[in-house]
């Protein structure tokens, strides 16, 4: 059998093409787009990964697919209308977005909500935290291939969402906070129901303890993966559970200047010294359990009285500037509100969202890790796209 010249040439060309591909893979690396529709991105975050074999040599997150321009829109709405917008920033714990803004406006106006309003705010705030972080506790398992926890999380999250709906009328976007207090008081029988739900959620945390934390596969896939040293975390402005799992004992619920009654309660700030993905999961699990205990104490000690301070029918915020931050489910959320004293809305409203800073570390953190660990690290950093893009 003779080989024609054409066949020889085709063979050489094929070898050359293979060599070129191998060269690209080995020397230049391959570019892989993760997202914008990857389930690990909680929305639409695209991550460009430059790979050398299985290893990431360079990573760059690309955001903006969900940018809605809230900072501009805040300037053309009045204060009462802004809460509708900012509900949509972190859509899993919506009520938590309203509280710092309303507190900032109250501070500018020099009014303070009555104690009962502050306590109910704190109850709903912690319920928002449970609804948000509770989903993470299951979702993290789903990212690593364990599908059961996420169904448990969705099932038990319903108890909290039903309570939020019962009190506010909205499951996802309550829009319940008003400058000077709250829209309504709690409905009859709500407190007993809430206590039952908190018991149920503590059981859910125990289930997650059994299913994931005690699971050897889960531990092997998360321990030592994506370690963030504390000094780097501070430089990037990480906050919330992400920085507490790097060993820093800092929680704005206890240390912040916001006026919510956390310091009248008995609770604990959980930290973990490791700074890896496992530590981030573990801290969030403890925090969810702690949040149910905080809600229980708040329900027991709920003061009586009015739920709304006297405010003008037309909200007119005097000239001034204020910075107010709270510990939201994802980390430190704050509003830098500038008012020019006009009857309209804020002159400037800078929204400091936790996920923005938490994700900005990822190009540093993903360098050198293996592809399956990219998913682990992104899932454990825990961000929500509405919270990055605003």
């Amino acid at each position: 059998m003779t080989v024609t010249d054409y066949q020889k040439a085709a063979y050489v060309a094929g070898q050359a093409a293979d060599a070129r591909i191998n060269f690209e893979l080995e020397a230049e690396g391959m570019t892989l787009n993760m997202g914008p529709q990857h389930p690990a991105t909680h929305g639409t975050l695209r991550i460009i990964l430059r790979l050398d074999g299985e290893q990431v040599v360079w990573a760059e997150p690309v955001c903006g697919y969900m940018h809605r321009g809230y900072e501009k829109l805040c300037e053309v709405r009045d204060y009462a209308q802004v809460t509708t917008l900012i509900n949509r920033i972190d859509w899993l714990g919506s009520f938590c977005n309203e509280v710092p803004f309303v507190l900032a406006a109250e501070r500018l106006m020099g009014i303070e909500a009555p104690p009962r309003a502050q306590w109910i705010r704190t109850i709903l705030f912690e319920m928002g935290r449970i609804a948000n972080v509770g989903l993470f506790l299951g979702e993290m398992g789903a990212q690593l291939g364990a599908l059961t926890p996420v169904f448990y999380a969705f099932r038990d999250r319903e108890y909290v969402l039903n309570l939020i709906e019962g009190a506010t009328g909205g499951r996802f976007h309550p829009n319940f906070d008003r400058i000077g207090g709250l829209k309504d008081d709690l409905p009859k029988g709500w407190i007993d129901e809430a206590k039952g739900a908190m018991r149920r959620l503590r059981d859910f945390c125990d289930e997650m303890d059994d299913l994931l934390v005690g699971n050897r596969i889960f531990q092997e896939r998360t321990r030592g993966i994506g370690v963030i040293p504390l000094d780097v975390a501070l430089e990037y402005g990480l906050s919330g559970a992400n920085i507490r799992s790097s060993g820093l004992d800092w929680d704005l619920r206890r240390d912040g200047d916001h006026g919510l009654p956390y310091n009248e309660l008995d609770w604990k700030v959980w930290t973990h010294p490791d700074g890896d993905s496992f530590a981030r999961y573990w801290v969030r699990l403890q925090e969810t359990r702690e949040a149910t205990k905080i809600v229980d104490q708040l329900l027991d000690g709920l003061p009586s009285g009015p739920i709304k301070a006297k405010t003008p029918a037309r909200i007119r915020v005097p000239k001034g500037e204020v910075w107010l931050h709270t510990e939201n489910p994802l980390g430190e959320m704050g509003y830098y509100v500038v008012s020019d004293g006009s009857p309209g809305g804020p002159f400037r409203c800078k929204i400091r969202t936790p996920s923005f800073s938490n994700v900005s570390i990822s190009s540093w953190l993903l360098r050198g890790v293996y592809v399956p660990d990219v998913i682990t690290i992104l899932a454990s950093l825990y961000f929500i796209l509405g919270d990055i893009d605003r």
């Binding site: 009045d78 501070l234 709304k308 029918a313 910075w323 309209g344």
Partner: protein, 238 residues
Amino acid sequence: MSRLSSEADAPTEASGEELAPVDPTRQAVVDVLRDALGAEHVLDEVIEGNDVWVRVAPTVWREAANVARAALGMTYFCFLSAIDWKQNPELGGQKLWDPDADAGEGPSDGPGAWTTGKAGGDTRFQVVCRLYNVTTHVGLTLKADAGDDNPRIDSLVPLFRGADWHERETWEMYGIDFEGHPGLRHLYLPTEFEGYPLRKDFPLLAREVKPWPGLVNVEGLPGEEAGDTDESAEGGES
């Protein structure tokens, strides 16, 4: 001591603040900055409540952040952004953008056309940065004037790597150039986007098509003067 640069508010604000006791922790923050940077570079400061605002000269912007980080222990980088102090009555008060009225430069241009907030300001654009000490829980809002037409300021990325995204966002939203930034690229907007959306003269095109229906909410309620207190605020919120 506190100052608001608006003439109308200044007398009442000043007399009210004189009586308030000075917060020693926040005063110490200002003193450290004044010692390290030189008194001529710390242009103004305001201590109010549990917070402190310091406006420094733009030439010492990075140095001020470095002093806050090294000498005051403010290692936590909270955020960096900017404010456009230009008054735009169409967007600010009335909340209705009238394309005819905005032809040309408009009435609100030129010196004195903008008011400034805490710690004053001399130019249209101002950069704001928030740093925080996670052990003593003392925060500081640093401000510096960035200029009028071609705003620029030093980048903080050499000090805080986290400033990267914040400066990219501020650059694309305000057009403020950060000198020393490793790569000012668009963060949210498409690469070919023109204009700086958060500037006060950037029109919100949705307003041109349809006036905001919520405009009715900023009008007075029937038979009521501004400043009347009312038990219920529901009327203004539906």
